[in-house]
Symmetry: C2
Subunit: 334 residues, 2 copies
């Protein structure tokens, strides 16, 4: 399998990306194509032992920066690592594309250069979300600020396919985010999407409130990109707030410091359960190609996980499952 | 000062509510009127030492249950503790009303029996939100699922007055929740509210993302009731997820158990920083009377805090400040 990695994307590029790519090539036995400025990528690659690994470098002279306007760059920066990398997927020269860069940029480049899967109205960005049980899969995280009810139904079909075939959840429970549990509660969008989801062949369990997402009540959590973005970023923020406050309070007390030292294995295990770097990247679902977008702050470990997610995405043929699900749902025709 | 407490509201009523009312009467030197079924309230009251405290019981034969439909009950349950209590405020027989009951019911009863403050288009439910610094004030939490841009401006005026006069924040920074920091990012609602907020006399700092709320970037965080509800409930859920996972991992390891025991003072201090029971109730802003709605799961300590919030709300004359702010803003006339 050949996975293209955007060596220039993310806050820690290219160093952490190259390091993560080397780790992934070694651990998962895949070919990792590093796309980016040759003069920046090759010195990083030279710092690692890559004997026996397949890590070709493909030169791309431009970089889509984190703050650039997505729609503009997709058309103009034709020699950027994102465009060059996705073109390889388009031409069948690679199986998947992975980036830690500008997620709006990745969406725009994917739409322009890969196009949508047949019948898909809007692609969505999804991510696993830690819960006390199996991680949930949440989408959309921001690809679509404004949504129509039928988009949410398609997100649910895509999310359900991903949860089942990539995450290994059998008959995933699908919930829609709302500000109340009962049917009839929620924004106009939720109220209109609810009956469509209920009528679908999905395992729809109804509304889920904000607290139900980390509680693991649903395996697939569907919402518009505005709400999903706020939900996941607030969750990240609350997690760092809690760990930060705890650390501050521990550091003020010598006995607590000692206690925290003794409890370190438990802290580490808890952190692992909750750590996004373990889960890897967020799939961009609904475009005609496997595209994984990692967190901009990804370290090497998170990059490695993103490549693992890409590998699983390809192996599971989830794109074919989505294609079939959309065709069978009747949502493609409207 | 006389504060009416809905003895029948909340999951732990009347026991925890009465206990919290007794604590508040003792600690804050206020008169706490307990409204509810005399036969349920008086036995609870008899369990406490109330010598020297003013804790009259006012009988109300009906109860608005947690799952009842707000609009219906406000008109029909005329002898419910919520209606009887708010009527006392309306007639000037009490200074504030506090309930741990059905928040939608409280809103409906307040709208019907107290009415709106002059010029207010929609009342909003607000709450403090823990951050690593001073708590932020977030509104709306669910009173208004669908909002118009001018509602958000009024929420910002009310929230700013509350943060300044009740929470003691000087010149509070006002942010609007969005899925991107830059001006122009966000839903149509956010994009339309942004210039209105920018043109106001408030200390508007622009968009805040989900992660910025717990980080304490803004003192007043304005959003529609759908997003606010999801944001605060997800935050609560993530907090209990993290503490739950941590506890589970600690309990699996004897050495970590010992460590956690030693670190207990730090844990306790951290929990205090993050604990909603310390902050007390959420004010219902924009109705013509001081109304505080506590968490349904409130224990006695949380009830006591809610009474304290009510007392501060009355003392600060924040309703007059809001009245003046709305009049000066020009948002009342449209």
């Amino acid at each position: 399998m050949r996975i293209v990695l955007d060596a220039m994307g993310g806050d820690n590029a290219p160093a952490a990306v190259v390091e993560g790519g080397v780790m992934a090539a070694r651990e998962y036995g895949v070919e990792v194509v590093l796309v980016g400025r040759r003069e920046a990528v090759e010195p990083e690659l030279a710092r690692h032992d890559t004997q026996g690994l397949s890590l070709p470098v493909v030169h791309a002279s431009e970089v889509i920066e984190m703050n650039e306007h997505p729609a503009l760059v997709a058309r103009t920066k034709k020699d950027s690592s994102m465009v060059v990398g996705m073109q390889m997927v388009k031409r069948g020269e690679a199986d998947a594309f992975v980036t830690m860069g500008n997620s709006g940029g990745a969406l725009a480049v994917a739409l322009f250069h890969l196009g949508r899967l047949k019948g898909i109205k809007r692609p969505a960005l999804g991510s696993v979300f830690p819960t006390s049980g199996n991680p949930a899969f949440l989408l959309d995280l921001g690809a679509n600020t404004e949504c129509k009810p039928e988009y949410l139904v398609q997100f649910a079909i895509m999310g359900s396919a991903y949860a089942e075939h990539v995450l290994g959840v059998r008959n995933p429970r699908v919930g829609i985010v709302s500000n109340g549990e009962e049917e009839g509660k929620g924004s106009q969008l939720v109220q209109e999407a609810y009956p469509l989801l209920k009528a679908s062949s999905l395992n729809f369990i109804g509304n889920v409130e904000g607290k139900d997402v980390p509680a693991g009540l649903a395996d697939v959590v569907v919402t518009d990109g505005f709400t999903g973005n706020v939900l996941i970023k607030a969750s990240e923020g609350v997690a760092s707030l809690i760990l930060g406050v705890l650390e501050r309070e521990i550091k003020q007390r010598p006995l607590s410091m000692l206690g925290a030292l003794l409890a370190k294995p438990a802290f580490r295990a808890a952190k692992r359960t909750l750590d996004y770097t373990e889960f890897g990247g967020a799939p961009l679902l609904g475009v005609d190609g496997a595209v994984i977008v990692g967190h901009g702050r990804s370290n090497a470990k998170a990059v490695r996980s993103a490549v693992r997610v890409a590998k699983k995405t390809v192996e599971s043929n989830v794109l074919d499952v989505i294609r079939a699900g959309i065709a069978a749902s009747g949502t493609a025709e409207e």
